[in-house]
Amino acid sequence: MKFTLIKDVKHDSLMRPLLGGLLLFILLFLLSDIALRNDHIGLTASTLSQTLFGNEEAFVEPVTEHFLLELIHSDIFFIMMTLLTLSAVYARLCQNRRLRLININLTMISALLSIILLPMAYYLSELFIMPWIVSFYTWHFLAIMMTLASLFYLFVPQKSDLR
């Protein structure tokens, strides 16, 4: 988090490629996470329902409680580290205070919901499947937007830089 102490990260010869590389890795992480999650548990109501509760007709066994708990436990760690880093970079580069706060809050809240709604779908009701899918896509979409916006602010000269 040293970059939070450097005054002008955009024009620092080391920070610029470092943050650029980090943002590229975060972008790839977010895209791969969607692809992998789609393959592992499914990202539609029917595929996720089949994963969580099984399907007798298709001879599909439901996932075990341990599998789900391990998935959630590791998800929390990766989400918290990725979003903390991304938010810190985004907060440093985005000059619009209001937009910055809205984006960070919405991304974090939807990510929190995605963590809470999956066990609720498994333990309480199938009704939570759709809200989980919405929250999953929402936080990924917002995080991707924050990453792309940060890359834009980092590499494309802004009006404030020219003054």
């Binding site: 903390l84 938010s87 440093r92 205070r97």
Partner: protein, 154 residues
Amino acid sequence: MHQSYRFAIAYFILFGALLLASGMVLFFSKIGFSYEAVESYYLGNEALFTSPKSSYGLLEVALPHLGSMGLFIMVTGHFLLFSTKQKKHHAIKIVIALFIVALLDIFSGFLIVEGWTLFIWIKLLSFIFLQLLGLYLLWLLFISVWQGIVAHKN
């Protein structure tokens, strides 16, 4: 400090609390909070048809935890660099204690399968202390962030 950072750290605290809670649920569900439960998890139990854990099996669990626990303690603790000197000194002790109990928690499984049954108690105690100290560190960070938000408003 930017107000946006304070929000990001506040959410980090929430995620941290969820991480500890999910770890506890997982421990309870997979192993159990008693001497017998830990013993039968690591050494196997004929009545439950479970076999003893192999060293490589334990290493598979230890490996991601070594990386993630170290990172979690470092990231959470380093935010307290921005707090008062008194709190910083307090945080140093908590961070060192956390690293020690995390190592004990990770490696006691290996010693249990080697026959050091004393480490069954150490496994249980280190896990409980890891949870409590982790929560306490998050609480210290929460107070620090909250004071920053209040000071910013005033």
